[in-house]
């Protein structure tokens, strides 16, 4: 059934636009509708992922217009990220029920679910399209809905954080659009495979270089890499907790997947060599690993700490891309998926704590391990994973990246991988200490009750996935192996 491919993006977008009309003033209906649509997408992307694992990449010509005349959707191994996107969105929607009832004004709840569905459709479309301008359109859908979701909880700081995010996002979007325009001027095409073919014969070097540099820079801003991360900490710390899970676990990864989409365009181009860019990416990634972890260390606010840890982990992925060997790319690919699971666990668990106790700093949250044992357990499993200890989901990605560094004779970068993990481990120890071993700062902390089932369920499930993701690493590794081979071989 090839129609699953376009419908996986089409259905959630239409459903998102219909949510405010259908479910006006009925938040329960809006949530049920969003859950049903996301369940459909999960089913569709699972079927597509199964097909790509069995048969390899496949395409769909929208409107039956053959590429490059029309828009080609292309589902390759990296598009399997859409399955992770759907699963995490499903859990976020379950979790959102009790959360938004308290955290959002009632008049905004149907729009909240509408924006979440548009966000979901945009993300799915982004990872399945084979067309450069179509990629931009879906990127904008994700961006516009994300800006709003950051501010949907209300408050002056939220509006400010969303505005900062909007400015950074708009500038990077314009840069990306401009560079897509440059590529179109050079090749006359927008289809990715066609652009790659035609770029091979372009002789003029400066515009090709400009397109490569501009697209890379634009997507790095979207990914929140240090030092272009300035929009990220506030936007990810101030937004409602379910939105944190979406934006920190999924949305920033689109910047990385964007890089994975554009590098093959230039791989065959005679005018430029990718090697210097990869060298720069490895260094930027390494700096981001250390800087993100370092800033995280000084955060008292648990959500801010998690936001900085995202910057560090994006650094790992970019380091893996920059090393560009098969092992390092495998590590980067696995970490894109596994970090999504881990960061969703962490933000949802931390969000449950903040929701139940009303406190958000380590100092105020002392003793919560006794009041909310299950949530704390899930949070600590997530923290262990983010450190990268085996057998959790954070381990394989970092392990492959470190191996990749050694393989390409760059032991310095392997040390960076290790040091980054050690710094985060210090933070983990601080959390452990605060949650379990310190006397509560607030007496009422012991009276805080465990989160309601529809919040605790997703948190525990994600915690379990953090462990499973580590134990079953060979699945994603085997799945993305052909794509990694193509990427590494193309250079």
């Amino acid at each position: 059934m090839s129609h699953w491919l376009p419908l996986a993006a089409f259905v959630p977008l239409v459903a998102g636009a219909l949510t405010p009309a259908m479910a006006r003033g009925r938040p329960g209906l809006a949530r049920g509708w969003a859950l049903a649509v996301t369940a459909f997408c999960t089913f569709a992307t699972a079927a597509l992922t199964r097909r790509v694992a069995l048969e390899g990449p496949f395409s769909y010509a929208m409107g039956a217009w053959a590429a490059p005349l029309g828009i080609e959707l292309r589902f390759d191994e990296f598009s399997a990220a859409s399955l992770f996107i759907c699963v995490i969105m499903l859990l976020v929607l379950v979790y959102s029920g009790p959360y938004v009832r308290r955290a959002l004004p009632a008049t905004r709840i149907d729009w909240y679910y509408s924006l979440l569905l548009i966000n979901l459709g945009g993300m799915i479309g982004f990872v399945i399209t084979g067309d450069l301008f179509n990629l931009f359109v879906f990127m904008e859908l994700v961006a516009v809905s994300s800006y709003a979701l950051v501010a949907v909880g209300g408050g002056r700081t939220a509006a400010l954080a969303a505005f900062k995010y909007l400015v950074a996002g708009a500038v990077s979007s314009v840069l990306i659009l401009f560079c897509i325009g440059v590529l179109h001027a050079l090749t006359g095409s927008l289809n990715m495979a066609d652009v790659a073919r035609r770029l091979a014969t372009v002789e003029s070097r400066p515009p090709v270089l400009l397109a490569l540099a501009g697209l890379t820079a634009g997507f790095l801003v979207k990914a929140g890499l240090f030092p272009v991360h300035v929009w990220l900490p506030d936007a990810h710390a101030i937004a409602p907790s379910p939105i944190n899970a979406v934006s920190s676990a999924l949305v920033v990864k689109l910047g990385i997947i964007g890089l994975l989409r554009i590098f093959p365009l230039f791989a065959a181009a005679g005018a430029v060599s990718l090697a210097p860019l990869f060298e720069a990416l490895a260094w930027l990634g390494a700096i981001s690993v250390l800087a993100g972890a370092f800033f995280a260390l000084f955060q008292e606010d648990i959500k801010l700490m998690l936001a900085y840890s995202t910057i560090s982990n994006i650094g790992y992925i970019v380091l893996g891309l920059g090393l560009a060997g098969e092992l390092a790319l495998t590590g980067a690919g696995v970490h894109i998926l596994n970090h999504a699971l881990i960061k969703a666990t962490l933000f949802l668990a931390a969000g449950a704590m903040i929701h139940q106790s009303g406190h958000r700093t380590l100092h105020d949250l002392r003793g919560i391990g006794r009041a909310m044992p299950w949530t704390t357990l899930a949070l600590l499993i997530g923290a262990l994973s983010i450190v990268g200890l085996p057998p959790t989901a954070g381990f394989p990605g970092k392990w492959y990246i470190a191996l990749g560094a050694l393989e390409s004779g760059r032991p310095g970068f392997a040390v960076v991988v290790l040091v980054g993990a050690l710094i985060i481990f210090i933070y983990f120890a601080r959390m452990l200490n605060a949650f379990y071993f310190r006397a509560p700062s607030h007496k009422e902390m012991l009276g805080v009750s465990e989160a309601p089932a529809s919040m605790l369920g997703p948190v525990l499930l994600l915690g379990a996935l953090c462990v499973l993701g580590g134990l079953l690493t060979h699945w994603p590794v085997a799945l993305i192996a052909p794509a990694v081979g193509r990427l590494a071989g193309g250079e």
Partner: protein, 239 residues
């Protein structure tokens, strides 16, 4: 200290960009790839293949209809974003965290009269732009803006505040989703007829149906766009 630094950074970013752009094929050069590859096919065969004499519409609603679908959702998302961020915490209340202007002065009777006088002509022109979009310059987006401006004008004269809006809220919300709804209908019809989502029947005897499908999309885009412009205006005028 900060300003010179910004200036230097901007210059450092601008110079390589200018060098890159300077080496692009000259604008209007008929041998440039932008004019010889895909675009050449659109111009040469676009009208025949799509049934839309207006080549822009041929690209917008046929070859790259999925982009257009995404774009109407970006517009919808903009409305959803504004409402989600600005709507008051309680129904009928004021936005809690955003200062807005107080109730404005009453509209002058001259302005009100002129708006009422010109409204039918504006509406007719908007409808013309929408319905002729596939053959002559125009289309759903352009016509939608004209109708949207008309709705904004009318809501100034006829609107009666947030409690009694020009259009009932439930109806308004369906109309705001008109463009995605039109794409769904046309897209699924195309799927049934041609086996591809957003496909159009290419047989000559079905030319009328193909034209009708394009007009449906244009009308959906136009109505949806107009309603979203009105929605943005009502949400942001601050009463």
């Amino acid at each position: 200290m900060k300003k010179p630094l910004v200036a230097v950074t901007l210059a450092a970013a601008a110079v390589p960009m200018l060098i890159g752009v300077a080496a692009l094929p000259r604008p209007g050069d008929p041998t440039a790839p932008a004019h010889t590859h895909v675009a050449a096919h659109y111009i040469e065969a676009g009208a025949r293949e799509t049934g839309a004499d207006n080549r822009v519409t041929a690209v917008l609603l046929n070859y790259r209809a999925f982009d257009t679908f995404g774009e109407v959702l970006v517009i919808f998302a903009a409305l959803a974003a504004v409402i989600a961020v600005r709507s008051p915490a309680t129904p009928g209340g004021r936005a809690d965290d955003m200062p807005g202007p107080g109730p404005g002065l009453p509209i002058s009777p001259v302005v009100a009269f002129i708006i009422r006088l010109t409204a039918p002509f504006i509406a007719l022109f908007g409808a013309f732009v929408i319905f002729r979009g596939h053959v002559s310059p125009g289309g759903g987006f352009q016509g939608g803006v004209i109708l949207g401006a008309l709705l904004v004008l009318l809501s100034l004269v006829l609107g009666r505040g947030a409690e009694r809006p020009l259009l009932a809220v439930p109806l308004a919300r369906w109309l705001q989703a008109a463009a995605p709804l039109a794409f769904t209908g046309v897209g699924l019809l195309g799927l049934a007829l041609t086996g591809a989502l957003l496909g159009y029947p290419a047989e000559p005897e079905r030319h009328a149906l193909r034209e009708l499908m394009m007009i449906t999309l244009d009308v959906g885009i136009g109505i949806g766009g107009a309603m979203i412009i009105l929605g943005l205006f009502l949400e942001m005028r601050g009463d």
